[in-house]
């Protein structure tokens, strides 16, 4: 067999690792440092300011005119809304994705291939364009809004620019991330286990709960993470379908780098987003280990 020397391997591997570490790892470290500095200067960061946690304090408390700190809940609300939106999207995706994954796994070889391609294609098409399509469907003078308003017993209903529209758009954007890991679990599933459960007198619901779900746990955990994480940092969907009224973390981060021009505060918000992501990932990993142990 081909002998691969350490030197040759290092030379092959080093460029890609270097590109990712320099263009992704290094910027993240720098961002962590900048989050402790103050804004200022033409580039948005005052490099000479003394490091302090002021940007993190600003997330929750605000300095009053006379210097007393008062509670400012506006960022907390946006933060909680982002987590709630991501959680709702995760649950919706699971509810829709589980039956789809079960069904695809029951098809013939060709049927599976076709369905997988159909599920994957939307993932590869432009996120912006897909959300824009919902903008067209849900807009005020569109036929969907007109039909809903004609049938609505509560008078005219606004379909766009609210949390429901954002949830629809987020689920639409990330549903394939839930279906694919679930499918990889069910693909290897021994369906005879269900026969055994049935023979032992389990109802379908009980078999689902006691046989299918425990086996599907790794897929469910992976799918939930793959949906939750991009949702938490979503920018395009709330910007288009939330219409500036239902902001999420991604939008306020962008605002600090755009109109507000407070880069250190934007860096602090990004660090918080990364921290939440890490906590969720660790929590899920621990939960899975406990389940499988």
């Amino acid at each position: 067999m081909t002998h691969q020397s350490t030197l040759r391997r290092s030379l092959l591997l080093a460029p890609s690792l270097a590109v990712i570490l320099v263009l992704i790892g290094l910027p993240l470290c720098l961002m962590g440092w900048i989050s402790f500095l103050q804004k200022g200067g033409s580039a948005g960061v005052d490099w000479n300011s003394a490091p302090s946690a002021a940007n993190y304090v600003r997330l929750v408390w605000e300095e009053d005119f006379d210097g007393t700190m008062i509670l400012n809940t506006s960022y907390l609300v946006i933060f909680l809304r982002s987590v709630a939106q991501a959680a709702v999207t995760m649950l919706l995706s699971l509810l829709l994705g589980l039956p789809v994954a079960l069904w695809i796994a029951s098809l013939s070889r060709t049927g599976r291939d076709i369905m997988l391609l159909l599920i994957t294609i939307p993932f590869w098409t432009n996120l912006l364009v897909r959300n824009y399509a919902w903008l067209i469907i849900l807009r005020e003078d569109g036929w969907v809004a007109q039909a809903v308003n004609a049938l609505s017993p509560f008078g005219p209903v606004q379909l766009l620019y609210n949390d429901v529209a954002v949830a629809i758009g987020l689920t639409y954007s990330f549903l394939p991330f839930m279906i694919l890991p679930l499918y990889t679990v069910f693909e290897k599933f021994h369906w005879r286990l269900l026969d055994a459960a049935h023979d032992l007198g389990a109802t379908r619901a009980r078999a689902l709960r006691r046989v299918v779900l425990p086996i599907a746990t790794p897929g469910i955990v992976a799918g939930c993470l793959l949906v939750f994480i991009p949702c938490l940092g979503a920018f395009v969907t709330p910007a288009l379908l939330g219409g500036g009224k239902t902001l999420m973390l991604g939008n306020i981060i962008q605002m600090q780098f755009g109109a507000s021009r407070n880069w250190p505060f934007g860096a602090a918000l990004s660090v918080v987003l990364l921290a939440v992501m890490l906590i969720v990932m660790t929590g899920m990993a621990l939960w899975r280990n406990r389940r499988t142990a």
Binding site: V19, W134, I136, R204, G233
Partner: protein, 257 residues
């Protein structure tokens, strides 16, 4: 026994497929609408496609997107191919290297995008096409890496052993045996990296300098200014290009070994 015993999975799946595809179909249908107000249907026409072809800012944005995607996908594919070849055998640090290579997939894009902006501005890198190519190359690496690695795993070592037994040197073995077998995986990886770069909005949004708008950034600012039939037409073109490329990659990945 088949899993068909779970009721309604078929009905729910078909509804989910409709949920995934109806918006796309509606968008494409409206792009052929002759009416100026993008939601009232009059009759079919290709007017808007003609208009986007002659619109200079759309043409410039499309050209930037294309140059960006070709450069980033080529660089990412070469780097990913080298990495995949290095990762064939177990070695100390392989797990850590794998994590680094796949890190761009899991990190929230907005955080990476603003962090890259901070780095580039701090060290004085000019924003624009060059900055975008560098950033796109980094996050496209895993998209190129995964199909190449999957293909490489399916290639039996015995072909290369046979080449060595027949006195082919390492370079000749790579060129005449490994590469021809690996080629579909490399093309699939390139295509996925290309589509990922072509469709990217957030990174380009932060790193585009003046005059280097890409197509998604153009679409975003156009939507902000108001919905027009031109946006429907560009969006439809972008959708169709992505679908064709992804289908191509899917079939390349499935070519017989």
């Amino acid at each position: 026994m088949s899993p068909k015993r779970f009721p309604f999975t078929r009905e729910i799946s078909l509804a989910v497929l409709a949920y995934l595809y109806v918006p796309v179909i509606v968008l494409i249908a409206y792009s052929f609408n002759a009416n100026r107000t993008a939601t009232v249907w009059t009759h079919a026409s290709l007017d808007w496609y003609g208009r986007i072809l002659i619109n200079p800012s759309i043409r410039a944005a499309a050209w930037n997107s294309l140059v960006l995607a070709v450069c980033a996908a080529t660089a990412a594919t070469i780097l990913a191919l080298m990495a995949a070849l290095a990762m064939r055998r177990a070695f100390l640090g392989r797990g850590a290297s794998e994590t680094v290579l796949n890190a761009p997939l899991i990190l929230p894009e907005i955080v990476v995008a603003v962090a890259t902006l901070l780095l580039f501005v701090s060290v004085g890198v000019q924003l624009g096409l060059g900055a975008m190519i560098a950033a796109h190359t980094a996050f496209c690496i895993p998209f190129a890496y995964l199909p190449i690695r999957a293909r490489l795993e399916g290639i039996s070592a015995s072909y290369e052993e046979a080449a060595f037994d027949l006195y082919a040197n390492r370079f000749r073995t790579f060129r005449r045996v490994t590469m021809p077998l690996l080629w579909p995986g490399v093309m699939a990886g390139f295509t996925l990296a290309f589509v990922t770069s072509l469709d990217d909005f957030l990174t380009s949004f932060f790193l585009a300098g003046p005059g280097t708008t890409t197509l998604p950034v153009y679409i975003f600012s156009a939507i902000r200014a108001g919905i027009t039939p031109e946006i429907n037409a560009i969006s439809a073109v972008m959708l169709i290009v992505s679908v064709l490329l992804v289908s191509l990659s899917f079939f390349l990945g499935r070519l017989r070994r």
